[in-house]
Symmetry: C2
Subunit: 332 residues, 2 copies
């Protein structure tokens, strides 16, 4: 294993030190492992808190800032943060209007955020939770009961973040988050495995000519292992899985995320975008907005995930609202 790290034990602490240097708009609480905006939450604004295992950067720390999260809690690599972190985050950013937890559907995250919610309520903080479970590949998985939460997390955090800036109440923000999640579907394909610093070897073995179709963001098994094929065919299968489950009507508009899993060249992601566009055009579905790049990654995994959110004008307005975070920035 070759990685740009000092030691497997120090990965998260060292990365947090770098985040503090790279992003003056953020405040890093190294002791509690909480990333917040440098500016305090505006009094009366619902505060958004998310978190999860490290290794998916820029998720979640890179989404902290105006129009998205108020705080992020990074766990160890591919390991849920602990309730104490989440409570510290909630206490740090609550501004009287309550805290919304955005939680990807992995059993560890779900249990820990649930415990943190109870602790926060005990401290007098109102809490709502939005569970993200957009990955249509499989029903249950290695660390998940139900569907896994992946790329739609970005959509939820962006759109709910915009709603919170506009003054949505805690209940309204939670309702929007659930609506975004319900309108979103994802599917991922891996060309290679990924290697955690602690393990030092790939999480699974993938032969030189095979791909994992429907992979999870920690390398969880997908639907099938198949031979590598042209991008057009890989995308057609992924889109069929998404569209069968969503399914959009002709004339519908979607927000599209073509997301690199960490080691895929942007050149290839653009090829995927082109193929996705062809599939959607044939169904008379319009790409209203799109985003391409590495946003919800799996360390050094080569591969791509595709996420669609069927969006009405309200969701598009929330998407277009100003955002000023390390990973997403527009309108400011």
């Amino acid at each position: 294993m070759k990685k740009l790290i000092n030691s497997p034990d120090d990965v998260v602490a060292d990365a947090l030190a770098g985040i503090a240097v790279a992003h003056p708009s953020l405040a890093v609480d190294a002791k509690n492992r909480v990333i917040t905006r440098a500016a305090q939450t505006r009094i009366g604004k619902v505060a958004l808190v998310s978190g999860g295992g490290s290794g998916h950067e820029p998720l979640h720390g890179g989404f902290v800032g105006l129009g998205m999260l108020d705080a992020a809690c990074p766990g160890e690599v591919f390991t849920s943060p602990v309730p104490g972190q989440m409570l510290a985050a909630a206490q740090s950013v609550d501004a009287g209007a309550g805290v919304l937890f955005v939680v990807k559907n992995y059993t560890g995250d779900v249990l820990n955020f649930q415990m943190a919610a109870e602790l926060a309520v005990d401290e007098g903080i109102a809490v709502e939770t939005v569970l993200v479970d957009d990955d249509v590949a499989v029903q249950d998985s290695t660390w998940t009961a139900g569907r896994r939460g992946t790329g739609a997390t970005l959509f939820v955090e962006k759109m709910v973040g915009a709603a919170a800036e506009r003054g949505a109440s805690l209940a309204e923000a939670a309702a929007i988050g659930r609506r975004v999640n319900a309108a979103s579907r994802s599917f991922a394909v891996a060309l290679t495995s990924c290697t955690t610093p602690a393990a030092g070897r790939p999480g699974f073995e993938l032969p030189e000519d095979e791909i994992e179709v429907g992979v999870g963001i920690h390398g969880e098994p997908g639907r099938s292992r198949e031979k590598i094929r042209p991008a057009r065919e890989i995308v057609a299968d992924a889109m069929a899985a998404i569209l069968d489950d969503l399914p959009p009507a002709p004339g519908d508009e979607v927000v599209l995320l073509v997301n690199g899993l960490g080691a895929t060249p942007l050149l290839e992601l653009y090829i995927v975008v082109g193929e996705v566009a062809s599939v959607l055009a044939a169904r008379d579905v319009r790409i209203a907005r799109s985003l391409v790049g590495n946003y919800v990654t799996s360390l050094d995994m080569a591969g791509v995930s595709i996420t669609l959110c069927r969006a009405d004008q309200e969701l598009l307005d929330l998407w277009d609202a100003p955002v000023d975070t390390p990973a997403l920035r527009w309108g400011v």
Copy 2:
């Protein structure tokens, strides 16, 4: 080789189709292989044109937009674009104030841009060229006489782009570009090789426990092949090479780019940022601005490049000026 492509011959054309879908702010001339802003150049503004082999995305197409480039010419993967492309780009974006070519120092690019400049002058277009040669690793290289052009290209395109928006003349814009290049130094380390679609196998072989120190963005050899070591030691060596060559005085300010070569997790890039900051703090050099992510890539190469630009207030102002491109966006 596993890649998300349809065929090696179609990579650039297919990627251009995706770029057109993903970025409505751009116009893609698929026939001439020229990417321009969707909006025409403002009359009287110097037009910036760059280009080079594909495989370094988002460079250069991702830097087309307000405050940076007016046009980019993508060649085949790791292959210079041809003079006809560059001429078409110059003709498309010239708005009467002339065209500035930003050229990375590779022999093919230099010769082709030189020929394009002659063709453009024949067409009545004033042309200046800024050559970028910031990589301190080696003097000559596989495809280069002199130093290679790498990460500082981003600094040149950003700062000259801002100057052009503010009304700099062609000569003034070229002078700023040369000043930025002269103030910038880069050094890169590869953990893995990269594989072009056409070759289908890695450009060089790197054993499982070795790194290429001083690598070029096409996998050109560096200064030495060494055993993998902690990030702190790798960064110390890279920074020594940069700082010995620059060298900044105590109290100087720099713009820092920590750039992933394509397959390195952002988590690791943040660790590098932290180590760079420690080295600079010990020299009393201040990081005035920083950028971390994949900006000047080498397909699927794992590794990192570090670029410093010693910046006075004028260059910092140009850095801070509004930019609205697919890969860099702030102040708008």
